[in-house]
Assembly symmetry: C2
Homo-oligomer: 336 residues x 2
């Protein structure tokens, strides 16, 4: 636990130190967010706030685990977590960069984004499938049974990976929202890995390395929130939301706990579902009656609350509180 | 750990349920905060927000430990924590009540407040001194030595108790500030009690009961923050800040970790110190030069930041983040 704490503190310190270097640089390079044209009126004031701040936590998230795990053999889990974070973060980075250099709200075309995500998800799924410590079994939470998917593990895991990364991206719409929820998720998974390792006679290095990775992610995000809390000085951008999504799903994959995601990352799930329901219902009613109807004032769900007049700070506090309570309940699975 | 989690969840649920009952009732009874006349301009809009919301978390903080510890013998620690919370909370409650019924910013006179606090602090200190499991020794953090104060324990502890309760009261000046920091402090002390109990061959019921108390406090405050996060629907009032201060110092006293307070409750300490420095320097310069000078724009320190233009939400986030990092460092003392 001591090592986990120092990991969090080190990662936090790096993020705090990076902020005052990265933010003025982003401003100078004019990486200001071009707010999506059809968005909320109240968000127009955010025009000019620099984007791409995700590197503030993505850097410690990748470097700190390498530093803090130097005494352990690398194992098979940590490389997967780092590859997923770095891979998805890089896709997001390119997307952000194009947005800025072309001065438009859309970055990569949907196809340019989907193909590398698909390839990366396939590579990670096959890698996990072929790794003896992971294989094709998923743990069913709260029932404590294993569910062997066989070869179907690969398409199922690809769906979960792409879904999680995109859901994280959708949740990043209000100052501090994805950061706050991601912080709680990574802290929870650090405790889960610690508990799982403590339950073993000889603690598994793989688990300890993933614990360190989760701690580094949590510490980095905590430092980033210093600059991203409402009113935000910087947004994380796609590089940040993809890195959080990629890092989180990798942790769930290697611990075989992907089915716990709907509990600890419910905020991400409802963001995706609300978009799917909104778009689906609109298309259905348009086809049926000629005019499209909406269920939510705006999707993802947090914008529905925002349009309903709930202040941004209250939305973040509500999402974070619900996430914290759900994570605590999830932890009862692993607690003595 | 499972029992601790369910304690937090139960306490949270009670606070969430109490909110929609208590807040309209407070509004109806016109328990609106009369904002201190010399205060900040920006706080004038807060006129009319109901005060005395502390009962939303004080009720679960007292009831839930009694429910969740029913299987254990009561022991000597839990009654002290409950007595301190209830006692100081009651003094604050009377203060709040007078403010409302007399429609003025000042409640009890300084003397009417000091005397019962003094008596309660004396009673708690003597009680602790005479309890064999506590006695006159304090643990010196990070050096892991015990410091025997002898009979001097009683005045020293009285000073610490009164100082902590008043410091908590001073920290309660910005939406969610004391709640957020108190939440982290109680959560930390719950983990400390759990670690201390786990290190024993037969876990001490006293420690487990204090752990449950800390969990109940954390859960209740988390629920309260749902209503107190900026922009606040309700303020906790003196009953709330005194209950947090009283509960926290009791936990530190029974675990003999009072000297850890400057670390985990640094936010409270700087609030007090900034007031003392501000007033002292003003009096000194007034005597010396004829005109009093100020060091801070306004004291306590959080108002200094606020007058400097920092948004309330950023102040809370900064205080909470620093508290969290300090608490993590404090936890390294107890971790394996």
């Amino acid at each position: 636990m001591t090592r986990l704490i120092w990991t969090v503190v080190l990662s936090f310190a790096i993020a705090i130190a990076l902020g005052p270097i990265v933010i003025p640089w982003l401003k100078k390079m004019k990486f200001g967010q071009t707010i999506y044209e059809k968005g909320l009126e109240s968000h127009k004031v955010k025009q000019g706030t620099p984007n791409m701040g995700g590197i503030i936590f993505a850097v410690p998230m990748i470097i700190v685990p390498l530093i803090m795990s130097y005494k352990n053999p690398m194992g098979s889990f940590l490389p997967m977590a780092l590859a997923s974070t770095l891979g998805f973060g890089a896709i997001g980075f390119v997307d952000d960069y194009i947005k800025v250099s072309k001065k438009r709200s859309e970055g990569l075309t949907p196809m340019q984004k989907t193909v590398p995500m698909f390839v990366l998800a396939l590579a990670l799924s096959v890698w996990a499938y072929l790794t003896p410590e992971i294989g094709s079994k998923l743990i069913v939470p709260f029932f404590n049974v294993e569910w062997d998917l066989g070869w179907f593990y690969i398409p199922a895991m690809m769906f979960i990976i792409i879904g999680t990364v995109n859901s994280a991206n959708l949740l990043d719409g209000v100052d501090g929202l994805l950061g706050g929820c991601g912080l709680i998720d990574f802290a929870t998974m650090a405790i889960v890995c610690m508990s799982l390792a403590a339950a073993q006679a000889v603690p598994d290095n793989n688990l300890l390395n993933v614990m360190i990775f989760c701690g580094a992610a949590a510490g980095g995000i905590l430092g980033f929130l210093r600059f991203n809390t409402h009113p935000a000085n910087v947004f994380m951008g796609d590089n940040g939301s993809f890195a959080i999504g990629g890092g989180l799903i990798a942790v769930m994959m290697v611990t075989r706990l992907s089915l716990l995601l709907p509990v600890i990352a419910l905020a991400m799930l409802v963001s995706s579902l609300s978009v799917i329901i909104q778009v689906g219902y609109f298309k259905y009613t348009k086809k049926k009656t000629g005019t499209g109807k909406r269920i939510f004032r705006m999707s993802p769900l947090h914008h529905h609350f925002e349009k309903g007049g709930m202040p941004e700070t209250r939305i973040v506090s509500m999402y974070m509180t619900i996430t914290l309570i759900l994570c605590l309940i999830a932890l009862t699975m692993f607690a003595a």
